[in-house]
Structure formats: structure tokens, C-alpha cells
């Protein structure tokens, strides 16, 4: 009997535990899938939000029809959270960033002012640190308005799927999440890279890249026709929080190789016996990349050894590289061309004074304390570092045929 009042009191307390103050029905929220950040005219930022229309995203069967799956709108404000106040002037639902997966930043802003909004991305509880950061060559608002994928309804899912290509093509950095960028900004041994994207105007005579690894492609330079007018390939490199340059797809692949994060890719190489012809290989990581810090001091010396395995996918020149001597020649040629790209990447990053590879990782372990490491000042030493690279490629397979096909022989110049 004595327990009844206590039980009653506890039952009365239950309503306090429901968290009613934060209750919100699903249909009361406007869920932002992607955010674009540009420099504002009247305010520090022009914040573009891509808000999901759940019924349209669900597809025709569920009543979506031809309705655009997202609402894209731009508001000028000093911060993301304060942009909500502007958006709430004309968006009926409560604007929420809990499901935001990608933040697009205009290159101009990233180059001139860096990432001053990063503090809010790390502090504002609605934003997740696992969201991606993408630098866009054109204003982020323009990019987001043009982002209308053809194979997907959800534009953000399309971007997420593009990011998976780092595993199959090696043309994007392995990590571009807010958390990864923020943690590298605070340590001295490596500088961050992010995804890089661009709008394409097929009508304009834009600068085109080249399949030659010495030139390569960056976003906005892909030799193509058709498809949606956006590209995301290559990487944006940062010094501290400011963007300093763009890495091409080939350089990004070289970056992944040096970072030991390369998985596999189809890549074309100049045929060593037939100039003007290409051999296409499927490259895979053979063994983990070995990086040895040979010397510290005024001018550090680093040795990097990349070991890859390859399978021939296309050999149109008709040269039979399965012959022992020829195979070694092809392996050496491919390794040489990859080494050129590695060296191009290193030269570029030394000019920019950014160690995006993270060679500093191998240096930091040599220092006993943080003070000793900081006084050595790796970011200032890296541009002077001697970086020796070597690539070893082992041709393991030749696809479904071993010797050149008849068509190849006919097309070859013997």
C-alpha cells in the first residue's frame, strides 16, 4: 500500500521525460540535403539550400510525377544558422540541416577567404562532420541549380555516388569530409584536399585537358559531350584554410598512390613501341606504398616506392607484350609514366608549399615532443625536401586473350 503514492508520483513524472519541447512532426521539417556557400553581396555569405521534396523524390508511383525533386533557393546571411531566419520568411516548414550531406563552396571564396564558416560546421549541432566538402569552380548557387542528374532523382545521392569513384577510378581524394579537413587544418604534418567540381558550358571554347598524364583532366575540362553540365573530378588543395590550387584527375590518382589509398583504376598509357597509341591497363595496388624518411635536417630527403599490379585491358597497337622482354619493357614504360605524374604532383605541391600527401606523417614520429616538432616547422621544410619516387608495375594478366587479336595486328604499324 505504501508503494502506491510513490508509483503515482513516478507516473506523474513521466510526461517530463518525453522531450516534448523538441517534438517536431516529420512533415513540419524542410530537410536540407545540400548547402552552397558563396560570398554574399550584402552579407558575408549567400547560402544556397537544396531542400528535399519527399513526395517528388519518392518517384512517380508515389505521386512525384515530373515535379522537381528539390527546392533550391539562396538566402544572404552572416551564417548558416542565421540564414534559416531569412529562409523562414518564405519557406513554410522549419529548415533543418540534420540531413545535409554535402557543402559546396565557391572556389573564389575558398581562395580569398578560406573556410571561415568551418567553425560553424563543427559547432552547429544540426550539421554532421561526416558531410562532404566540395569546392566548385563556379558559384555554388549556379552549380546547385544545374545539378539535375539524369540517372538519379536525388541530386545529393548523385554526388554521393560520384564520391565512390575514388575506389574504382582513383580520380577523387579518399576523404573530403568536414571532420577530415578540420583535423588536418590543425596538425602540421599534412594539408587537406577536398573534392573539386565545375560547371560545363559546352558552347564555350573551354580549356580541355588531355589523356596524357603530363597534362591530365580537372573538373570542367573533361573531353565529352552530353550528360548533365556538372563534373566532379580531381581535387582542391589547401594551405591552412585557403585553397591554393587544383589537382588533375591523374595527379589525384598519384596522390592516392602516395597516400597508400589507391585501390584500382582503368588507365591509359602511351605505348612504348607505338607512339600515338595507348595501352589500357587495370591498375591495382600491389603492396602498400613504402615511404621512408631518409633524412631530416635543413633539407629533408624522402623516398617513396609505389608497387602496383596491372592487367592489360586494351592493346590496340598489336604488339605482343606477353613476350618476356616486351612485358618488362611495357612495365618499365608504364612505371616511368606514372613516375612522371608522381613527380609532377610533388613539384606542384612544393610550389604551392602544401604537403597534401602527408609526408610529414613520417617525419613527426621522429620527434619526441610536440615542441620539438613545432620548432622544426615541417610546412616550411617540405618545399625544400628531396622526394625520390619509384614505381614498380607488375603485369599479372592479359585479359581474356593472351596474344594480340587479328584486328590489332591489322591496325598496327610493324
Amino acid at each position: 500500500m505504501r508503494r502506491r503514492p510513490l508509483l503515482g508520483a513516478l507516473l506523474l513524472l513521466l510526461p517530463l521525460l518525453t522531450g516534448c519541447w523538441n517534438k517536431m512532426e516529420l512533415e513540419e521539417g524542410a530537410y536540407v540535403l545540400a548547402v552552397g556557400i558563396d560570398e554574399g553581396k550584402g552579407s558575408p555569405y549567400a547560402v544556397t539550400v537544396v531542400i528535399a521534396k519527399p513526395s517528388a523524390l519518392a518517384g512517380e508511383k508515389n505521386g512525384g510525377g515530373d515535379e522537381p525533386p528539390v527546392l533550391t533557393t539562396t538566402a544572404e546571411a552572416p551564417s548558416l544558422a542565421s540564414a534559416r531566419a531569412v529562409l523562414h520568411g518564405y519557406v513554410g516548414r522549419q529548415v533543418l540541416f540534420h540531413h545535409t550531406m554535402v557543402f559546396f563552396v565557391h572556389e573564389e571564396l575558398a581562395r580569398t577567404k578560406g573556410l571561415p564558416f568551418l567553425d560553424e560546421l563543427l559547432r552547429f549541432r544540426q550539421i554532421r562532420e561526416t558531410a562532404f566538402l566540395v569546392v566548385t569552380r563556379e558559384p555554388a548557387a549556379d552549380f546547385l541549380r544545374a545539378l539535375k542528374p539524369e540517372l538519379e532523382k536525388d541530386p545529393v545521392r548523385f554526388i554521393a555516388q560520384l564520391t565512390y569513384h575514388y575506389r574504382t577510378s582513383g580520380t577523387l581524394p579518399a576523404a573530403s569530409q568536414i571532420r577530415a579537413v578540420a583535423s588536418l587544418l590543425n596538425v602540421g604534418y599534412a594539408q587537406p584536399v577536398t573534392y573539386y567540381a565545375a560547371l560545363v558550358d559546352e558552347g564555350s571554347p573551354a580549356k580541355k585537358g588531355s589523356p596524357d598524364p603530363r597534362v591530365g583532366y580537372a573538373a570542367g575540362e573533361l573531353p565529352r559531350q552530353g550528360g548533365i553540365p556538372v563534373e566532379m573530378i580531381g581535387a582542391a588543395a589547401f594551405r591552412q584554410s585557403r585553397m591554393v590550387g587544383v589537382l588533375t584527375a591523374e595527379e589525384t590518382r598519384a596522390l592516392l598512390m602516395l597516400q597508400n589509398r589507391f585501390q584500382s583504376a582503368y588507365a591509359a598509357f602511351r605505348d612504348p613501341r607505338q607512339p600515338g597509341q595507348y595501352v589500357t591497363l587495370h591498375l591495382r595496388r600491389g603492396r602498400p606504398t613504402r615511404i621512408v624518411l631518409e633524412r631530416l635536417g635543413e633539407r629533408p630527403a624522402i623516398r617513396a616506392e609505389v608497387i602496383l599490379e596491372a592487367e592489360v585491358v586494351a592493346m590496340p597497337s598489336g604488339v605482343d607484350y606477353s613476350e618476356p622482354g616486351a612485358q618488362e619493357e611495357l612495365e618499365r614504360a608504364v612505371a616511368g609514366q606514372l613516375e612522371e605524374t608522381l613527380q609532377a604532383l610533388i613539384r606542384k605541391t612544393q610550389e604551392w608549399r602544401v604537403d597534401v600527401v602527408g609526408f610529414g606523417r613520417y617525419a613527426i614520429a621522429r620527434f619526441p615532443t610536440v615542441q620539438a616538432w613545432e620548432s622544426y616547422s615541417w610546412p616550411e621544410r617540405y618545399p625544400e625536401a628531396e622526394v625520390h619516387t619509384s614505381v614498380r608495375v607488375s603485369l599479372r594478366r592479359y585479359g581474356l586473350t593472351l596474344s594480340p587479336t587479328r584486328a590489332s595486328e591489322e591496325g598496327s604499324v610493324q
Partner: protein, 372 residues
């Protein structure tokens, strides 16, 4: 003394202490360790545990000398009927402030991370009432609840750490000696009183049948806490890097937010918050029980239970005094931790007095057998 019925075994005791100390890992404690050790925060965690073990030795010694007695009884017997209760009152005041800080700290944490629109007073009142109820059921009930919930709380923390492992960059744990071993050592010494909550076990010493149970509870609890803290800060620093980890007041929440195993497992913070609540309530209940029991002992009251509700009311009201979250953190770091040494000095003083005066509990039964 019907109010003090029930006993705690070594297992329940060590789990109770581990939960009381370990719940701090959900809060700013890892941040302290990172500020001390930088990349070598895991060393700081182990050193703090080591110092904590040393500081807990007088409690163990008192447990052997006075098996089955609590702080209030021991201090009265050893230090006299005036000085003894004063010492007990001082200790209970510290534990009360620890409860107050815990209450506000967890409240602020919940408001910042999950329920931003809920008034803090609602959380404070709910937490206080639940802990009063648990304390009312007795220390044994609190300890058994801690034991029963340990698998859930530990699994919650461990799973977050395990799922975070793929993101760990071991380079972030270098330079290996952080800011230098001497600085880590000195910093760890400053935070050695993090384990001062071990005094809770002495305050409820009557619940331990013998000195051995108290010894195992104290030492194992601190040791487990040290290992859990080392693992947590190693993963935290390995993911965020020391500079960011130093600014991260909710480390496990931060890690839980990063868990992302494709589309299959993400947003695990909703889960961790549940463990957080359980750990917070156990800590609060244990602190509340220890305060009330010590207070009742010092004031020679036959039962501690009538004190619980007024105590909770006072603590709830006082917990609203710090003007903001930073003030709560400062109160803990700049007052509670240094004063923790003074609190840990009380058992040492009592033990020295007992040795000098030749005081000990009358040998009887099993307890005396263990104490010898």
C-alpha cells in the same frame, strides 16, 4: 540500523566505482587529458589512474582496519566526537558539490547535444527525483543496478570506439611523448584527484562486509576507469587530432556522430545518449547516497533517508547557480579537482591517527579475519 541493511560485494563495488568515474568519460574528462598530454593523452589517462590508485590506498587501509564501517563512524572513532564529524561534514560537502556539478553538467550536455529546447530545470528536477528514488532504495540497490546495467553501458561505449577504429589515424598519436613526459606527469598529478570519487566507497563503507571487498572495489574500479579512459582518448585523438580533441567537451558523442558504416549504421548518437542517461543517473544516485549517509552519520541521525529529498531540493536549486556551461566546467576543473586532494587527504589523516592512536575495529567474525 535498518536503514543501512544490504551489502555490496567486490564485484558490485568495483562496477559502481567504475560507473561513477567512467560516466565522466561522456563529459569533459577526456578533454582534460588531451590538454595535459596532447597526442600522449592516453599516457596521461594511465598516469592519472596510477596516481588515483596510490591516493586510494589510505581508504583501503581504513577498510581493513575498520571493516564494515563507514566514513562517519570511522572518523568519529578515530578523530573524536567533534573533529571527526567535522571531517565527515567536509567530505560530504565535497561529494554534495560533486553531485551538484554532475547534475548541471549532464543537464547542460543534454541541452547542448540532444534536447536544445528543453528547459534545464526540467532535466534537473527529473534527474534529482530519479536519483532520490534510487538512493532511497539503498546503496546496495544502486550498486546492483550499476552491475546490471554495466553490459549495456560498456557495450555502448565500446561499440562506438570499435566502429570509430577505421577512422583512426595513428599518426595523430605522435609525437609519442606529447608535450614531454615531465609535463604529462605533472599534468596528470593535477588531475589525479579525478579518482577522488573513490571516497564514495568509504562513505558507504558500512555496506562492505570486509576490507578485502572495499580494496577490490576501489582498486579495480580505478584501474578499469584508467583503461577505459586511455582507450577513449587514444581513439579520440587518433580521429580528431590533439588540437581539435582539446576543444571537444563531449568526446563519445562526437565519436558516435562520426560512426558511418555505409547506409547500414549511422547516427548512433541516439543510442549513446541512452547509455549516457543511465551512467549519469547511477553516478548521481551514488553521490546522493554517499552525501546523505555521511551527513546523517556526522549528525548522528538514525536514518539517512529523510535527508534525501531536502538534499536533492537544495542541490537542484544550487545547480542552477553557475551562470553558464563554461562556469560549470571551471567549477569542476578549478575547484572540485584541487579540492579532491583535500578530500583524499581525509582518509590518510584518519589512517595515520588510527595507527598513532592504535585504533581499530574490535576483531570479530569474518571481517576481522580478512583485516588481519
Amino acid at each position: 540500523m535498518g536503514a543501512y541493511d544490504g551489502h555490496i560485494g567486490a564485484r558490485e563495488g568495483s562496477v559502481l566505482l567504475f560507473t561513477v568515474l567512467g560516466s565522466m568519460l561522456f563529459l569533459q574528462y577526456p578533454q582534460y587529458l588531451v590538454s595535459v598530454g596532447g597526442p600522449a593523452a592516453w599516457q596521461a589517462a594511465l598516469l592519472v589512474a596510477l596516481f588515483g590508485l596510490v591516493l586510494a590506498l589510505p581508504i583501503v587501509a581504513l577498510g581493513y582496519r575498520f571493516p564494515g564501517r563507514g566514513l562517519a563512524e570511522i572518523s568519529r572513532e578515530v578523530a573524536g566526537s567533534v573533529f571527526g564529524p567535522l571531517l565527515t561534514l567536509a567530505v560530504s560537502a565535497w561529494i554534495a558539490v560533486a553531485a551538484l556539478v554532475t547534475l548541471r553538467n549532464f543537464t547542460e550536455t543534454f541541452v547542448i547535444t540532444i534536447v536544445p529546447d528543453t528547459p534545464p530545470s526540467v532535466l534537473i528536477i527529473s534527474g534529482s527525483l530519479l536519483s532520490v528514488y534510487a538512493a532511497y532504495r539503498g546503496v546496495e540497490a544502486v550498486a546492483r543496478t550499476a552491475l546490471a546495467l554495466l553490459p549495456v553501458i560498456a557495450a555502448g561505449g565500446l561499440l562506438v570506439l570499435i566502429f570509430s577504429l577505421p577512422r583512426v589515424d595513428t599518426t595523430l598519436l605522435f609525437p609519442i611523448w606529447g608535450f614531454g613526459f615531465d609535463r604529462t606527469l605533472m599534468g596528470s598529478l593535477y588531475y589525479a584527484s579525478t579518482a577522488a570519487e573513490v571516497i564514495v566507497l568509504l562513505a558507504v563503507g558500512h555496506a562492505f562486509r570486509d576490507g578485502r571487498s572495499l580494496q577490490h572495489s576501489s582498486l579495480r574500479g580505478i584501474l578499469l576507469f584508467g583503461l577505459a579512459a586511455a582507450a577513449t582518448v587514444a581513439v579520440l585523438v587518433g580521429i580528431a587530432g590533439a588540437p581539435l580533441a582539446r576543444q571537444e567537451p563531449f568526446p563519445l558523442y562526437f565519436l558516435a556522430r562520426l560512426v558511418y558504416l555505409g547506409r547500414f549504421l549511422q547516427r548512433t548518437e541516439a543510442l549513446i545518449v541512452m547509455f549516457w542517461i543511465l551512467a549519469a543517473l547511477i553516478r548521481l544516485s551514488a553521490l546522493m547516497s554517499a552525501t546523505a549517509i555521511s551527513l546523517a552519520g556526522a549528525l548522528r541521525l538514525p536514518d539517512y533517508r529523510p535527508l534525501l529529498f531536502p538534499l536533492a531540493t537544495i542541490l537542484s536549486a544550487l545547480s542552477l547557480l553557475p551562470k553558464d556551461y563554461v562556469a560549470v566546467l571551471r567549477l569542476d576543473r578549478e575547484w572540485m579537482r584541487p579540492l579532491g586532494f583535500a578530500v583524499l587527504a581525509v582518509p590518510l589523516l584518519l589512517w595515520l591517527l588510527a595507527v598513532v592512536r592504535g585504533k581499530a575495529a574490535a576483531p570479530s567474525g569474518e571481517a576481522a579475519g580478512h583485516a588481519s
